[in-house]
């Protein structure tokens, strides 16, 4: 197998750099074998070829000093590195780098939980700490705190927050809950943000902004530094928790349920980010497609309806929760029941009737921050399922949601794919996640999925929608849709990049931000 090499770098240069890196971290923590070790640094869910994202090596440092030394070496050789924390960014590229040949900087061994403060409700963690790790630590110590995790909890606080990821408790907007970080810049300088910049700081986990520009966001979805520590606020365990689900019978109910939600959400009657989940997403938790339909192309409506009936699911399935003391939850639930009860055919479900249903059970866990991996079951909807997420932001507004849904569903059907999606209603927006699922063993199907995704980016942009996050393959295309005023935002990103990382060693191309030596080549 030929070693993938970064653009403009020879095998000799790569080997020389690797030899120096081995001296820093030890041979055991440098992974070079393309057949075994590097296979798991690829993205099996890509829609092109593994080779497009194949790293040349991976290296796992154990502390900040080692990172600084590695950066010095790759600066000398101008070898690009790709930073990951827990490395589980599947649907958006997994642990794989943007281009072949990059060296993956895997921070999995920096996995200390540095502080958990029960009184003030925060944790300070290193990048390798997974949601499971933090949860287990809290349980072992008997602390009355909840975590908020992404649906698959094997990812971690630093990686997920870096991606602007989301969870399902009231603390689900992870970047909003982030407080303070430590970052190593490309030249090895270590920077603390927020209050921890003051000597003997006592308030790093409490107040986000410190004095001066609040720069934490600069290091997320970007390539301006390597985050080596992060503070995250944790929700105090509430005295009570009432999850609920509402099944809705008609496609059009998406519009009504969204419009009814906004005032409840914005006024904190519903405390977490409620989800409106389509039938297939829900069904895929317990059945596979060919149990209901073995034909090609999208599943016909008649089959969908039968499935909904068999599984007691709606065409849309709405999940939310309230938290707090009993009387407060009762009040809120009364308002919620009155509001959504007005939708014809709407049916409420609770733990007493729904427990044991796989879809319900894992949502109940997620909305209270109990880590699990159940959502991966979705991938078995079709055999050999791979997926990438198309994730446009919509207004929390019924017409807007319907417009996006209809646009995506139509194009998905035109290309022969099912619409599998959900809307996650944030503070004022909705994250619309269209899970574009394809048979990853079929080159033809992968290509079709790729073409569909590219089309959707353009279609969404034409309607005024942008994506909140994306797969490696589409970072440039989506960056180009954030183009107002002659691409002034990306010009600003590039100016910062050139200043902070003149050799372009940190994650070139991340989110469409390229160092000057590679701009225009992507």
């Amino acid at each position: 197998m030929t070693k993938p090499l970064p653009q403009g770098i020879t095998l000799g240069q790569l080997n020389a750099a690797i030899a120096e890196i081995e001296k820093v971290v030890g041979k055991d923590y440098v992974y070079l074998d393309d057949v075994k070790e590097l296979r798991s640094y690829r993205d099996p869910y890509n829609t092109t070829n593994d080779a497009d994202f194949a790293p040349s090596a991976a290296v796992a440092p154990q502390n900040v000093e080692q990172i600084q030394k590695i950066l010095a070496i790759v600066n000398t050789y101008k070898i690009p590195i790709w930073t990951i924390s827990t490395g589980k960014n599947f649907a958006y590229g997994g642990p794989a780098p943007r281009k072949p040949g990059y060296v993956v900087l895997d921070l999995k061994l920096m996995n200390r939980i540095l502080e958990v403060n029960e009184k003030h409700g925060y944790a300070i963690v290193e990048p390798g700490v997974s949601y499971y790790d933090l949860y287990n630590y809290i349980q072992e110590k008997g602390l009355k705190l909840w975590i908020d995790c992404a649906a698959p909890a094997w990812g971690g606080i630093v990686g997920n927050t870096s991606e602007h990821g989301a969870g399902y408790t009231p603390y689900g907007d992870h970047l909003l809950m982030q407080c303070g970080m430590q970052v190593v810049l490309a030249d090895g300088t270590v920077v603390e943000t927020g209050m921890d910049t003051t000597p003997n700081s006592k308030t790093g986990g409490l107040y986000k902004y410190g004095q001066g520009a609040a720069i934490d966001g600069l290091f997320t979805q970007s390539n301006f530094g390597v985050i080596t520590r992060m503070g995250i606020w944790l929700m105090p365990e509430p005295p009570g928790y009432t999850p609920f689900m509402i099944t809705l019978e008609n496609e059009q109910d998406l519009e009504t349920v969204t419009d009814l939600t906004l005032p409840l959400r914005i006024n904190q009657v519903i405390h977490n980010a409620p989800m409106t989940v389509d039938l297939l997403w829900e069904a895929a938790m317990s059945v596979s497609r060919n149990q209901y339909y073995t034909g090609k192309g999208p599943m016909p409506d008649s089959h969908r309806k039968k499935m909904a009936k068999d599984l007691d699911l709606g065409i849309w399935n709405y999940y939310g929760a309230v938290y707090g003391p009993g009387p407060m939850m009762k009040n809120n639930m009364d308002v919620i029941r009155d509001t959504f009860g007005s939708i014809p055919g709407a049916k409420f479900h609770y733990d007493d009737t729904r427990k044991g249903d796989p879809g319900w059970d894992y949502r109940v866990k997620l909305m209270k921050g109990t880590p699990n991996m159940t959502e991966f079951s979705l991938l078995n909807w079709i055999g050999g399922g791979g997926h990438i997420n198309f994730s446009p932001i919509s207004a929390a507004d019924g017409k807007s949601a319907m417009r996006q849904y209809e646009m995506i569903r139509k194009s998905a059907h035109d290309f022969g794919f099912d619409y599998i999606g959900e809307f996650l209603i944030g503070w004022r927006d909705q994250h619309h996640i269209f899970m574009l699922m394809f048979n990853r063993m079929s080159a033809e199907e992968k290509k079709r999925a790729h073409d569909l995704f590219a089309l959707l980016v353009d279609e969404a942009a034409a309607l005024g929608y942008g994506e909140y996050r994306t797969h490696l393959s589409f970072m440039d295309q989506i960056a180009n849709t954030y183009s107002w005023n002659d691409n002034s935002l990306w010009d600003a990103h590039h100016a910062i990049k050139d200043e902070l990382d003149p050799n372009g060693i940190l994650s070139p191309g991340k989110q469409g931000i390229w160092p000057k030596n590679l701009r225009g080549n992507s």
């Binding site: 197998m1 074998d33 057949v35 075994k36 070790e37 296979r39 798991s40 099996p44 589980k88 999995k108 499971y132 698959p152 909890a153 094997w154 938790m285 317990s286 596979s288 073995t294 796989p358 894992y362 880590p371 699990n372 991996m373 159940t374 991966f376 079951s377 979705l378 991938l379 078995n380 079709i382 055999g383 050999g384 399922g385 063993m441």
Partner: protein, 194 residues
């Protein structure tokens, strides 16, 4: 060893009766790892996997819908049996997740195969080092609808060395395909084993 391998290869090529007992042929051709600790995962909700796991005598785990429930078992096994071997007949997503998890303990894939049904056709698509890939493919095909049993009996003989892999496919016609789900069989072993 080499002569045996060569013999079996040529036997396969000339299609002699040797493959009437494919597991015997395999055991001759592949590394025999009977003594190595083996941890086997299966998803008993799938008929074929249920059949499979009932034949396995080693440490075994029936998988929950939430694969996260089994992380501790896998981690413990990797720590306690650094030269061991982990295998399974599971849903595709479970293999995907366990493979990722195992790599952090130095365990890597050396064999995987998808088993899919479409109409009356059963397709086995095997990815493994070249020689065992072809042997296993033929053996699975010959085992017809008994392939889960064949796998269960040959778990210890699945490839455990980390060499370049190829993918090879075999198809056969079988009745009663409706009741069967898409499954993946796989094996992981520690990198020191190679």
């Amino acid at each position: 060893m080499l002569t045996r391998r060569t013999f079996i290869k040529s036997a396969l090529a000339s299609n002699v009766a040797l493959l009437a007992t494919p597991s015997h042929a395999l055991q001759l051709a592949l590394d025999n790892n009977q003594d190595k600790p083996l941890l086997v995962f299966a998803d008993e909700r799938a008929l074929n996997a249920k059949e499979f796991i009932s034949q396995v005598n080693d440490q075994k785990e029936n998988l929950d819908l939430d694969i996260g429930q089994h992380f501790d078992v896998l981690t413990k096994f990797c720590k306690e049996s650094p030269h061991g071997h982990i295998a399974g007949l599971t849903r595709d997503s479970d293999f995907f997740v366990l493979e990722q998890l195992a790599k952090d303990h130095g365990f890597y894939v050396n064999y995987s195969a998808t088993h899919s049904y479409d109409g009356q056709t059963l397709t086995h698509e095997i990815t493994a080092p070249k020689e065992p890939a072809n042997l296993i493919a033929t053996a699975l095909k010959n085992a017809a609808d008994q392939w889960p049993n064949w796998l269960a009996k040959n778990m210890h003989s699945l490839p455990q060395s980390h060499q370049a892999m190829i993918t090879t496919k075999r198809q056969l016609t079988v009745p009663n395909t409706q009741q069967h789900n898409f499954l993946v069989s796989w094996s992981l072993s520690a990198s020191q084993n190679s």
